[in-house]
Symmetry: D2
Subunit: 359 residues, 4 copies
């Protein structure tokens, strides 16, 4: 919705900077009596956690989440109470780094300049509020969202790195957990290992495309006209750090299609209507069709690179900047669990909203 | 925001179906004392109006807008009062068409099936609420938004039809008004004339990509994290009928770039900071940079085509459907003024929001 | 919520001034397949319509409502479609009155001064947006709300005029429709006839207290902490023109009670829990108890009176003002159906919200 | 607004139960560069803290607040950054009390029954989310709100206990801090000491009326029609635990007045318009007049009393209950700083909203 809250009935408010005492979120509107343990949330956080391979930033954050409110013990274990669930992750790796280089200079491609332009000051430590670290709170919220939609399976994968796309014929969801890229194409994952090592060693970075798929979404979710499921997904995914594009189903490819080819034909199946293709990405008129909901988003390369770039400082003087420190050669990788979380949150919210209006 | 309202301080609520008595919108939160005439709104509506060339639907709608509230006469002419501005467009071309073909069958690629799945019934006349006719209300609202941001110039153009992209080196904004495609490349516009005629005669349709550019947007607009300017633009543009993808600046192209190439370097200019490129599309960290805000969106081909397609009917029986009637061979064309309107509304809203928080 | 919209899932946006072309509302989020006719809405509007007795303003407004969208004909009659229902009431009695007296002077007790202070201008014709005429749109929306909660009966009554309270032992709902005051105490209604005639003839006015009762509200509605049922009722009732106080159940009387007397004891009845009293007014902790929800609100006397009052004009000059014209000697009377409508809207919204979260 | 968030541009989301690890709030939309220290927040919290006299509950809570995010050190001291300010208060006095008495029984006058009816379970420890302990988070948020409106002075006072009203002629703001009742009438405070001691010793409780006054509010705040300043105040104050009524200015007394007496006449003063009385409580048409904003609210007596009351348990069996433990004989007392905080939050929000729309 606005500022630091998203969602309508299932609402998530996040807070916290990269280098303050803690970050976290308040999840409001969760139905009561949903089983929920801290371990379930931690599991998702661990998938996003940096420092697990040489392909993500070496910043070591334990990312241990605490549940501050909204759950209680019952005979059936710990469950939600229907009241706000506050989650907190304390920042532990706040090494007293030397920020003199970025304190007064604007890193090109970063939000340094725009935060300064908007607020008249900025928290330069680790990017402050614009740090990708904020996405940990989203992943935590997404873990709760998943519990609300147990019949929906939300999975993400990296499908492109730089100009290199995976071979979709080789898609194997089982591979996603077996390489450091969340890549469903085993051969391409092997290629990426070399490819990204080279980029990493050069102190450069590269962009990526992530695909998120939600299976089991019932037909009927989405609230036209300005609460369309795809509209809310676009907003949610575009809000992830470094994302520059979002598409649903055939996406930009649909611009090249004729009407005959784009329309997903229907036949009656044994268990209801069956679509013969899914160019729509599971959404028509902003409402889910019952097919898999498919979204992709483009992640730009991080601008924290070793090559010096031209910039200015706060006093308006021309200068150069080179960003040392621990960074992701391909920030798209860790965006996979974040994209899943946002998809889960949007679907959970729409399930509640649909139930509210239609019963 | 939700359901049929978008925007936060500059809020637009639209209503109306294709074939009811009227459609329109309520624009709330408009600052007072803004000069506003019905002619200014009508001018934008006329750009979107169908039936102006053989390349858009031949449905004849006068699209005459009436202002029902929110303005008053003063010595300086008619101005806004700060109270809700209600706009109404009466439906005039409701010919008593034979809807028996689509009343019970679901048109593939349309929202027929999903509205039925969601609500348990649907207004099949002209697509009901899912009709592109709803976008007239957006254009009317956008005309008001433009008056709030007089220093911002929002313009749109068709940059791709089917697989054919314009030559960006040939971009001439003056051409946009001189061909039926809102195309800024004169040569390509001539090509589209033949290309689309062929598609039209075959009873087929084709997709397109639209680009919207806002110049003069001050740095600092956008409210991180969940009210990012690009996040709200993505939501606004994705909510337009038939849109399947949205990108900002380099967009999906950013996935193929290295960090060195993607980061927009800066130098101090005579009138403040100057960026040496605009891969960011004028937005960093969800906040405007002061550069032109650039967004593109993909519009799928309409599924209302003469080629019969397989489908089912409400009783679950397999059948075929062929959509006769007046339709757009390339609905992307008329999406240009709609995209502009959504961009204008989002920027106006963010201007007010920024002023509210930061002053 | 904000500006000219209230409600969360059942959302009402109103528009229009006293003397523009039309006023009305957009009702969003209404469940689909609810039977709804224009006559049902008109019936409620007619109860609020002025000019039906000598005790309300003699302004003659037909208040004929039109449904512009959101309904469709089916085999079972006209029903809602789940899309926005736009209602319009055209202003017909816009006699070209002489407004020179109030154009530049601020009427004490009116919103003249504050609208001018806020917006820098004001629509002085008939009070513009601050006119009680806006409440017609609320009553129309309330008629739709009632259809969503068919098992809830919302009724209002005038329980005090000036210092004269009704005898609650004499409460007879049947009397409410048989006197021009919506008064449930027959004897007191007879008294009010003389009492108010005297006030009316003197060109004075008097305040009143209205009580609204909703029976059949299921236990469990209301969303703590900031969407409490009583909190939303307070907001909704306080937003009615001229209202200066709202109370629930024992209300301000609760301040005088000891804990033993205020707590509503419980016993198990044949059909579930039974409360032995209702000091809580049917709401505990912001959530409905299943008892009747009882709210009262105080309506100040209109300041449009024949006695000259001291004021200033726009140029800051001291002056006097006497408001001639057609006005209500007791505006509280017509607030009865308005209060009912607001109660119905709030309960309908909370029913949908509760269903959304809890199912 | 909804659920656990209130406010529009200055938005407060609270979380936490009486007996979980912590409670707190996220304050979103705060302007940047506002000086803010933890001590300023703590000062307000200390005024609300229980256990400071024998007239409030003896529960010992340190109520030490921590700032988790949203501030940064600068040359001018610690200031807000414009990003969400998260505040946390850890629960320290969670003595392992015996809850067997209330675990299965519904305390009359409490939210036990309604939470159970709504959610199907309830956190019975200390009242869970319905505990007055949640108001600590409001007071913390209010301390931030005060910093946004430095020219506005918000003060509250207890003006009635049981049937005993203060003598308004004896009003002395300086007295408020010198007695345990926040009472501005020194003589009445002395009386309350004996009066409440008697009630306390009997294990009974009593209601109260609180008045909150905001001086220095500029004319023009409030957003008609559904964001009226009085409407938002009513909602905010009614949301406080145990509140059953809210009134503005003359309030329910206005119902007894004639138009001549209720209208606040105006004269031109040296520094702008002057009102000759303030029956309106500083609000006309939902917009502030520039006079002091005056609101009162009624607080019911707590139902946690020693006298046994009839009730039922979860299995539907008739039983009795007597609430032992540490409770407030007059919960209205501690509602004073809470009422101030809500008033401050509402005014701060409206200041930002007004600035957003009108500039």
């Amino acid at each position: 919705m606005s500022f630091n809250t998203f969602g309508h009935l299932f609402r998530v408010t996040t807070f916290g900077e990269s280098h303050g005492p803690a970050l976290g979120c308040v999840v409001d509107g969760c139905p009561p009596k949903i089983p929920l343990t801290v371990e379930e949330i931690q599991r998702d956080l661990d998938r996003r956690r940096p420092g697990q391979s040489r392909f993500t930033t070496q910043r070591q954050e334990a990312d241990q989440v605490k549940i501050l409110s909204g759950v209680m013990d019952t005979d059936r274990g710990q469950v939600t109470t229907g009241t706000p669930i506050a989650l907190m992750i304390e920042n532990t790796d706040q090494r007293s780094k030397d920020y003199s280089e970025i304190k007064d200079k604007f890193r090109p491609g970063h939000a340094d300049f725009t935060y300064e332009a908007k607020y008249g000051l900025r928290d330069y430590r680790g990017g402050g509020r614009s740090s990708a670290r904020e996405t940990a709170a989203r992943v935590a919220a997404g873990a709760i969202a998943r519990k609300i939609i147990p019949d929906v399976r939300v999975r993400g994968a990296l499908v492109q790195m730089g100009p290199h796309k995976i071979d979709r014929a080789m898609w194997d969801w089982n591979e996603v957990g077996h390489n450091p890229f969340f890549c469903p194409d085993k051969a391409k994952a092997a290629f990426f290992e070399e490819y990204l090592d080279d980029i990493r060693k050069k102190g450069s970075s590269i962009g990526a495309v992530i695909e998120v798929v939600a299976e089991g979404v019932p037909a009927g979710l989405g609230a036209p006209i300005y609460g369309k499921l795809d509209s809310d997904l676009a907003s949610a995914l575009m809000s992830i750090n470094a994302v520059k594009g979002v598409e649903i189903g055939a996406g930009f490819g649909a611009a090249e299609l004729h009407g005959e080819d784009n329309a997903d034909e229907m036949r009656m199946g044994n268990n209801g209507p069956v679509f013969l293709s899914n160019h729509a990405g599971g959404i028509l008129g902003g409402i889910s069709t019952g097919q898999a909901v498919v979204a992709r988003f483009a992640v730009k390369p991080t601008s924290s690179i070793l090559t010096p770039r031209r910039t200015i400082d706060k006093s308006g003087t021309d200068t150069d900047i080179m960003t040392k420190g621990r960074h992701d050669p391909c920030v798209g990788i860790r965006a996979v669990p974040v994209g899943e979380a946002m998809m889960a949150c949007v679907i959970a919210d729409h399930l509640l909203r649909h139930r509210g209006q239609v019963g």
